[in-house]
Amino acid sequence: MNDPTVFLVDDDVAVRDALSLLISVKGLRTAVFASAEGFLNTYSVSWRGCLLTDLQMPGMPGLQLQRHLVERGIELPVVVLTAHGDVATTRAALKNGALDFLEKPVDDEVLIEVLRNAIRVDEQRHRARTSRDQTLQRVAKLTPRELDVLRLLAEGLQHREIAARLAISPRTVEVYKARMMEKLQVRTLADVIRLGADMAREAAITTS
């Protein structure tokens, strides 16, 4: 299921059947689940697309499903189906990180537009994640010295200052810098600084 798919969770069999029919007629792939537990049990990280879930369900309700997704690091965009006028629950779902909401009964035009948008969001996120993963793999190849040079360059230090800090000659700094840029496949100093800043931010996030 690596193609973009709409994962539909609703306890009502008729709603499930009708919405999946409508979505597939509109040209999107769907997979249906009768409960939040059913979805969580079969979920795989390779799944692309978005999650369309009802909020009022026996067993695990939609809001709780959202919390489980966050806990397990599942980044599928979530679109919630709400009853008309249920402002409080809708607000809670959006606060929980839902991308959008749809009121039952749903207008097919709106439904498809919202779902396509969600899938687009998922693709962007996926792409961003992939490029970040690649960069991280390259960073992993750096020696400690090269990593130090990268970090200090990102802080905006000159070659001479870096040499003084690391107690090596400016010439050696030049050599480390050239090797590091080759491994990371970047061409300009600006790219190096951006990458170092990203890493510093990530480190801050992970340590906090």
Partner: protein, 653 residues
């Protein structure tokens, strides 16, 4: 088989009594010796026998079974005082006879309650008649035994019986009532101390009278003896039975002393008959006077109690005479009807209670009375006829029911408001549940139709009505959904009127609504309150419905579990961000399977329930940012519901 081991011992109390019995025997012998005047043939036949009085008092106090002490005392007296005037076996027989007769008298008198001081005329008469009868039996038996034994000639028998009889009866009537009064000697002493002048005057007159009488010659003494009645009756009238007893004793002692010192006295027996007449009269009269004084005191006491009762009664009390006029009224009546309406005699009852009919048998009516300044008020009236031949014929009690009626009306209005709000909430919850349940199939229907429209697009060219019809079907389905939403919004939208609320008072009022049910089911309800609650503005009616629902559930729950004590806790508490009301019961608790969907509509454990109470309660609270939660109760293992009312609840929306 049960083996009972008994140890026989002389009880300390019995030992004590033995000493007293010994003292009695000694006193008997002393008295016999002192009163050994004018005997017949040196026998114990004298006209003044105080030891008989001592004996009767002794047997009354200690019980007739002590008759052996009496027999011993009589025998000892014969030996010590008279030096055995007859054969020892004869004296033994007479002693036994005396003891037996007085024991029977004591037995009879105890049955009449005469072991206590004489306090009524009938008791005095009983004592007099008993003493006379027993005295005769003793005297006749004693003399007969002596005659048969040869110690006394038969010709002297009748005179001896009379002498002995009058001696014994006088002894009993003079000493026995006095000894019965022994326990009250402190009262007597106090009375004498407080009235020294009167007592001295009375004794002086008595002594003077005796000095005068016994200064006369023998025949004249008998003629003028009646003069003694004057001081003795004076004493009796003044002091009742105790005075009479003491007066008679003084007289008796005076007579004996006069006889001892004055050889002129012709016949002591004649004098003793006169003393007997005096003592009987004084004793009976004294007892009657004491009885009357006692009765008067009791009457005064009761009258004072009833007067206070009437004066402090919160209800108006009126006495009405035979003609229907008010004859007296208590302070409450004066306040209720005004002074001029009831204070003056002769005002008709119908002037203040128009239409009242006191001849009705039930004695109870509610009607409109005319209060002070002619103000009409709802009156609850009860009356009863008075069965004493006095001027008043009925006692009428009137209660002003204005406040009670008012609070009844308010209570009823409150209940009506609550019922209306409850009906509204039920309808709202029904509409909401209906909207939710029907919205699902409508959603499916609309989606199916939209899919169908897309699938049918290639066929649209064959008949243009196909797309249009599908569109119409879709619009109708959407319209049905709209109707449901509007219905739900109508009930939900009912603006909540937020008012400042005293949560403690609200909880108390809710509990008060159930007071009768709680009492009937014998449920112990505890209300824990917090005095430092912040002021809150909430939808009071909504909150009341919630508390009402939960308490009603709790009562049903505790009644399900029989055997264990029925208890409900109502606790108002403060948490970091909310005021909570926790209602915990000692019922069976809620099935874990039901807990999951406890607050969903149409979930119920009751046979006759709709399953809306908790759903409504939670909706009502959430409608104002509050909440209702459930947890198993940890106190009694029952259910525990908590109403959350967060601080800073939104003001009027």
């Amino acid at each position: 088989m049960v083996v009972v081991t008994r140890s026989i011992s002389i009880h300390p109390r019995t030992q004590h009594t033995l000493w007293q019995a010994g003292g009695y025997v000694a006193l008997y012998v002393l008295l016999d010796g002192a009163s050994y005047v004018r005997p017949v043939l040196k026998l114990g036949i004298t006209p003044w026998n105080p030891q008989a009085g001592l004996t009767v008092a002794f047997l009354l106090a200690f019980g007739p079974r002590w008759l052996f002490a009496t027999a011993l005392a009589a025998f000892c007296a014969e030996g010590l005082v008279r030096d055995m005037p007859a054969a020892w076996w004869l004296l033994l027989a007479t002693s036994a006879w005396i003891a037996a007769a007085y024991a029977i008298l004591a037995l009879a008198l105890r049955r009449w309650g005469l072991q206590r001081p004489i306090d009524s005329g009938s008791k005095a008469v009983t004592l007099v008649l008993g003493a006379m009868a027993a005295g005769f039996v003793v005297a006749a038996g004693y003399v007969l035994l002596l005659v048969v034994g040869g110690a006394l000639p038969g010709s002297m028998a009748s005179a001896a019986v009379a002498r002995y009889w009058v001696g014994d009866v006088n002894g009993i009537l003079t000493l026995t009532p006095l000894l019965l009064l022994w326990s009250r000697w402190r009262d007597g002493l106090r009375t004498v101390r407080g009235n020294v002048a009167v007592v001295a005057a009375q004794l002086g007159v008595l002594a003077l009278t005796m000095w005068f009488i016994f200064g006369l010659s023998g025949a004249q003494q008998v003629r003028f003896f009646y003069l003694l009645f004057v001081p003795v009756m004076w004493i009796t009238l003044r002091w009742g039975a105790p005075g009479a007893v003491l007066g008679v004793l003084v007289t008796q002692i005076g007579v004996i002393m006069a006889v001892q010192r004055n050889a002129q006295v012709p016949s002591l027996v004649d004098l003793q008959f006169l003393v007997l007449t005096l003592s009987v009269t004084a004793l009976v009269l004294g007892a009657v006077i004491s009885e009357r004084a006692e009765a008067l005191q009791r009457l005064a006491q009761r009258e004072a109690e009833q007067r206070t009762l009437l004066a402090t009664a919160p209800d108006a009390v009126l006495a009405v005479d035979r003609t229907g006029d008010i004859s007296s009224a208590n302070p409450a009546a004066l306040r209720l009807f005004g002074e001029e309406a009831v204070a003056q005699a002769g005002r008709p009852l119908t002037a203040i209670l128009p239409g009242i009919d006191l001849t009705r048998p039930d004695g109870r009516v509610s009607l409109e009375g005319l209060g002070r300044d002619g103000r009409p008020f709802p009156a609850e009236i009860a009356w009863a006829p008075l069965h004493v031949p006095a001027r008043a014929a009925h006692l009428v009690i009137v209660r002003d029911a204005t406040e009670r009626r008012q609070s009844e009306i308010e209570l009823r209005e409150r209940e009506r408001d609550l019922a209306r709000a409850m009906r509204f909430a039920v309808a709202g919850e029904l509409a909401s549940a209906l909207a939710h349940e029907l919205n699902q199939p409508i959603t499916a229907l609309v989606s199916y139709l939209q899919a169908t429209a897309i699938l049918a697009a290639p066929l649209a060219g064959r008949d243009e009505r196909l797309t249009a019809t599908l569109l119409k079907a879709m619009q109708e389905a959407l319209r049905a959904s709209e109707v449901l939403h509007r219905l739900r919004d109508f009930y939900r939208g009912g603006a909540i009127k937020r008012e400042p609320v005293n949560l403690v008072a609200l909880c108390e009022a809710t509990v008060a609504n159930f007071r009768e049910r709680l009492q009937r089911a014998d449920i112990e309800l505890t209300l824990h309150t917090d005095d430092s609650l912040p002021s809150m503005r909430v939808g009071v009616t909504q909150l009341e419905i919630v508390l009402h629902n939960i308490l009603a559930n709790a009562i049903d729950a505790v009644c399900q579990r029989s055997g264990s004590p029925r208890r409900i806790l109502f606790a108002i508490e403060r948490t970091a961000d909310a005021v909570t009301v926790r209602i915990e019961d000692s019922g069976p608790g809620i099935d874990p399977e039901v807990v999951q969907k406890l607050f969903e509509p149409f979930v119920t454990s009751k046979v006759d329930g709709m399953g809306l109470g908790l759903a409504i309660s939670r909706s009502l609270l959430r409608g104002q940012r509050g909440d209702l939660t459930y947890e198993p109760g940890h106190r009694w293992g029952g259910a525990s519901f908590t109403v959350h009312l967060p601080y800073g609840m939104p003001t009027d929306e």
